[in-house]
C-alpha cells in the first residue's frame, strides 16, 4: 500500500514506513494528523496501525524484577568490604595521617641527609647488585651486634644495681630515680647531667652510664 497524497508519504514511502516513523516520533504534526485520518478511513491501514501499537505496548509492559540489592551486596561483601559511615570516616582520616607520616619521614630523611651528609653514602660507581646486597648484610650484622652488646651492658649494670663508670663519650644514659620516675636519654657526655655517679647518688637517683661499645 502506498501513501501517495499524504504529507509524509509518496511513491518511495509505504504505509509501514509511515507507521514506524509515527511510533518513532519522527512525523510532523501535519503528517501525524494525515496518517491518523488515513487510519480512520482505511481498514487495512487501521489494522496495521493497531498491530504495531499492540506489539509496542506489549513490549513496553513493565516487568516486575525481584529486589537484588540484598543478595548482590552480600555477594560483593565477600570480595569488597562495605564500611559503615564511621569506619569510612576513620579510613579517610587514616589515609590522610598515613600520607602525612610518609611526607614527614621523607622530610626527616632529607633533613638528616643535609645535616649529616656523610651518614648516608651512595655508591657512585656502577657495580653488580650482589655486591650491594652483601655490603648491606655486613652492615646489618654489625648493627645487630652493636645493639646486642649495648643491651648486655645495660642488663648487667641494672642487675648489679650500681652505676657504670663514665669514661669518654657515652652512648646511652639511663636514670632511675628512687621516687620511681624514670628518665632515659642520650648524651655524648654524661657530665652535662651529672659529673659522676657519686653526684647522681646524692640526688637519690641511680645512674647507669653505658659506654659506647664502639
Amino acid at each position: 500500500m502506498t501513501t501517495e497524497g499524504l504529507p509524509g508519504g509518496g511513491p518511495g514511502r509505504d504505509l509501514d514506513a509511515l507507521i514506524d516513523a509515527f511510533f518513532d516520533g519522527e512525523l510532523s504534526a501535519a503528517e501525524e494528523s494525515a496518517l491518523l485520518d488515513l487510519v480512520d478511513r482505511d481498514p487495512v491501514a487501521a489494522e496495521r496501525f493497531a498491530r504495531t501499537a499492540w506489539v509496542i505496548d506489549e513490549i513496553r509492559r513493565p516487568t516486575s524484577a525481584p529486589d537484588f540489592s540484598g543478595s548482590v551486596m552480600s555477594r560483593v561483601h565477600g570480595r569488597r568490604a562495605w564500611l559503615s559511615d564511621g569506619w569510612r570516616r576513620f579510613v579517610g582520616v587514616g589515609r590522610l595521617v598515613a600520607a602525612a607520616c610518609l611526607l614527614l619521614a621523607l622530610a626527616g630523611g632529607l633533613a638528616a641527609r643535609r645535616m649529616a651528609p656523610d651518614s648516608v653514602t651512595l655508591g657512585t660507581q656502577a657495580g653488580p647488585l650482589s655486591q650491594v646486597v652483601d655490603a648491606g648484610r655486613v652492615e646489618a650484622a654489625s648493627g645487630a651486634m652493636t645493639i646486642s652488646s649495648t643491651f648486655d651492658i645495660v642488663r648487667g649494670a641494672a642487675k648489679r644495681g650500681e652505676a657504670a663508670e663514665c669514661e669518654g663519650e657515652s652512648h646511652a644514659i639511663i636514670v632511675r630515680s628512687c621516687g620511681g620516675a624514670e628518665f632515659s636519654g642520650e648524651r655524648t657526655a654524661p657530665s652535662t647531667i651529672w659529673s659522676s655517679p657519686a653526684e647522681a647518688s646524692q640526688s637519690r637517683a641511680t645512674v647507669i652510664v653505658v659506654k659506647n661499645p664502639g
Binding site: 509501514d16 514506524d20 496495521r48 506489549e58 537484588f68 540489592s69 551486596m73 569488597r80 569506619w87
Partner: protein, 195 residues
C-alpha cells in the same frame, strides 16, 4: 536517575558505602532484568545474569569511567555474560513461555482478539521476538522496552545509527507480517469449520 546523583552514589559505593551500592542496584535492576528476560526468555537465567553483572560491576567499581553512563557499562557486562552463557548452555524457554509459543503456533492474533491473559500475550510477544535476528531482538528491546534513544543503542552495540534504525524498521515489519499471516491462517481455518 540524574547523572550527578548517580556519580555521587558511585563514588560513595566505591568508598565502601553499602547503602549507596544498594541504591544503585535498585535504580538499575528493573531495566536490566527486563532486558535480560527479553533476551534470554528465562527468568532464572535473567536473575543469575543480573546478579552476576552487578557483582562484577561493584567488584571493579574503581575502573568505572565517569565519562560514560553507568547503565551502559552495566548492560555491556550483562550482555557479555549472557553471550558467554549462551555459548556454554543454550537457554531454553521455561514452561510458561513455551506454552505461549505453542499458542502462537495456533495463532497469536486469536489470543489478541480473544483478549486472553497477559501471560499469554507476553508469550506471543516472546514468540515473535524469538523469530527475529538477535540484533533485531536486542534493538527492539532496547528501543521500545527501555526507551533508549537510537544514538545510545548505536554506542552500546558499536553499530552505526543508520544500521540500528534499519534493524528496527525491519524488525517491526517482520512482526507485523507474522501477525498478519497468522490472522489470515486463522480466518481460513474458521471458514473451513463454519458449516
Amino acid at each position: 536517575m540524574d547523572r550527578h546523583v548517580e556519580r555521587r552514589l558511585i563514588e560513595k559505593a566505591a568508598a565502601g558505602d553499602r547503602a549507596a551500592g544498594e541504591a544503585l542496584v535498585r535504580a538499575h535492576q528493573d531495566s536490566l532484568y527486563a532486558y535480560m528476560l527479553r533476551m534470554s526468555g528465562r527468568p532464572d537465567v535473567a536473575e543469575d545474569i543480573v546478579q552476576e553483572a552487578f557483582v562484577r560491576v561493584f567488584t571493579h567499581l574503581e575502573r568505572f569511567d565517569p565519562r560514560f553512563r553507568f547503565s551502559t557499562w552495566l548492560f555491556t557486562i550483562a550482555k557479555r555474560l549472557y553471550v558467554n552463557a549462551c555459548q556454554k548452555h543454550r537457554p531454553v524457554f521455561d514452561s510458561g513461555i513455551v506454552e505461549g509459543q505453542r499458542e502462537y503456533g495456533d495463532g497469536p492474533f486469536r489470543l489478541v482478539a480473544d483478549g486472553e491473559s497477559r501471560t499469554r500475550d507476553r508469550g506471543v510477544i516472546d514468540g515473535l521476538l524469538d523469530r527475529l535476528s538477535p540484533e533485531q531482538k536486542e534493538i527492539v528491546a532496547l528501543f521500545h522496552q527501555l526507551s533508549w534513544p537510537i544514538a545510545r543503542i548505536s554506542e552500546h552495540l558499536g553499530m552505526p545509527e543508520g544500521t540500528v534504525k534499519s534493524h528496527l524498521h525491519r524488525a517491526r515489519r517482520r512482526m507485523r507480517t507474522l501477525l498478519e499471516e497468522d490472522a489470515r491462517e486463522r480466518a481460513t481455518r474458521v471458514e473451513a469449520v463454519t458449516p
